[in-house]
Symmetry: C2
Subunit: 206 residues, 2 copies
C-alpha cells in the first residue's frame, strides 16, 4: 500500500461556520462535496475532538464558504491552526449570518452554502455529515482555490536556514496533533488526520 | 438561492471499477474524497439507475483510479457517456485487477485506490458509499486533473456555426439524462444529477 496515492485526491478549501446557543465558530476544512441532486445534498467531514462537529451536532446547521484564489496563509493561521474552544476566532471579523442564523465570512470567498444536516456518522477520526443545501449565495466569479494550491503556493515553505533554536516536537498544520521528538520520521503520517510528514512544522523549545 | 454557487465546489475525476459475478464495468465520476484516517476512509457518490452502484452493492468493493492531466475527452466518451448495461465498455482496453479482483485502468491515471465498502446510503438521485482504502498504488507523479479543467479545457466547446440539422432534445453529458424539446431553458438543471444547461449537448433528428 502506497499511502501517497491518497494525496492525489483533489479538494477545495472551505470555511465552515457553526453555532450553538451563544457560541459561534469558523474553521477550515477541505472536505465538502456534492453527493446528490434534487434536493442538493453535500457531505462534510470534520475532525473529532474539535469544536465544529460539536456545534453542528447541537444545532443541525452549518455554512460552507468556498474560498477563492485570493486567500492567503493568514486565513489558515486564524481559522485552521487555532482551536475554537480556546479562542474566539471571529473577534474583529466582519461576520455575517445566513438564513439559519449561522455565521459566515465573505472575505476571500466566491460563494457560501447554507446547509441543514440530515444525518451524521462517526468514522473514528472524523464525523461525516450529510446535509441538504437550503440556501446558496454567490459573491463573485473569482476562481475557487484548490487544496493542491494550498500546498504548492500558499503555505510557507520550511526554512532551510540553520537555526540555533532547539526542536522539541513537530505539529501537524492540518489538525494540530503534536509529535514529541526532535526528528520526525520521513514516512510519518498523522495519527489524527492521516496527513504526511510534509504537513508538520517544528515546535521549538521556548 | 443561487444554484450556481454549488458549481464552485472543487472535485477531481476518477474511473470507478466495479465487478459482480462475471460482469465488469468502469465509469467516470467526480465524487471521491477522503473523509477519515487510521483507517483511511473515502466516500463515493454514484448516480442511481446506473450499473456501477448495483455492482458495488453486490460485491462490496470498487477501485478508484485518479485521472491525471493527460486525460482527453475520449476517456469521458468511452466511460462516462455510455451505459455499462448496454455495452462492454472495457473491450479492447488493457484492464488490470486489484487485490480484490476489481478491474482498473492505469491509462491517464496517477494512482489507484482499492476500496472496501463499509456502508451505503440511498440519497434519492445518488447512492453514497463509505469505504475503507485497503490498498493503494501510485503509478506516476503526474498532476491529478480537476473537474474545473474538464469544463474549461477538455470537453468540446459547443459549435457556434449554423447547422442545418434539427435539434429535437438535449442530453446531459454528465449523466445521460435527455430533455425533450428544441430549446433548453438557460436556467435548466438536470433532474438526475443537478448539473446546469451548459453541461447539455444537442440531440439531432436522425
Amino acid at each position: 500500500m502506497n499511502e501517497k496515492a491518497i494525496y492525489d485526491l483533489t479538494y477545495g478549501l472551505f470555511l465552515i461556520g457553526s453555532k450553538a446557543e451563544e457560541k459561534e465558530n469558523i474553521c477550515v476544512v477541505n472536505t465538502v462535496m456534492q453527493v446528490a441532486g434534487s434536493p442538493t445534498r453535500v457531505t462534510l467531514s470534520c475532525i473529532n475532538g474539535n469544536l465544529t462537529p460539536e456545534l453542528i451536532k447541537a444545532s443541525g446547521y452549518f455554512t460552507a464558504a468556498i474560498l477563492d484564489e485570493t486567500v492567503e496563509f493568514d486565513t489558515f493561521k486564524q481559522f485552521g491552526l487555532q482551536h475554537g474552544s480556546d479562542v474566539n476566532k471571529l473577534e474583529g471579523y466582519d461576520v455575517e449570518h445566513d438564513v439559519n442564523g449561522i455565521p459566515f465570512l465573505k472575505t476571500n470567498a466566491c460563494s457560501v452554502l447554507s446547509c441543514k444536516v440530515i444525518s451524521c456518522q462517526d468514522l473514528g477520526s472524523h464525523t461525516l455529515f450529510i446535509a441538504e443545501v437550503v440556501d446558496a449565495e454567490k459573491f463573485s466569479d473569482s476562481r475557487p482555490v484548490t487544496y493542491a494550491e494550498y500546498h504548492s503556493r500558499i503555505k510557507p515553505k520550511r526554512s532551510t536556514k540553520e537555526t540555533p533554536k532547539e526542536i522539541i516536537g513537530w505539529k501537524c498544520t492540518i489538525c494540530g496533533y503534536v509529535y514529541e521528538g526532535a526528528e520526525l520520521p520521513e514516512d510519518f503520517t498523522c495519527p489524527w488526520c492521516g496527513h504526511p510528514a510534509s504537513d508538520f512544522e517544528p515546535v521549538y523549545k521556548e
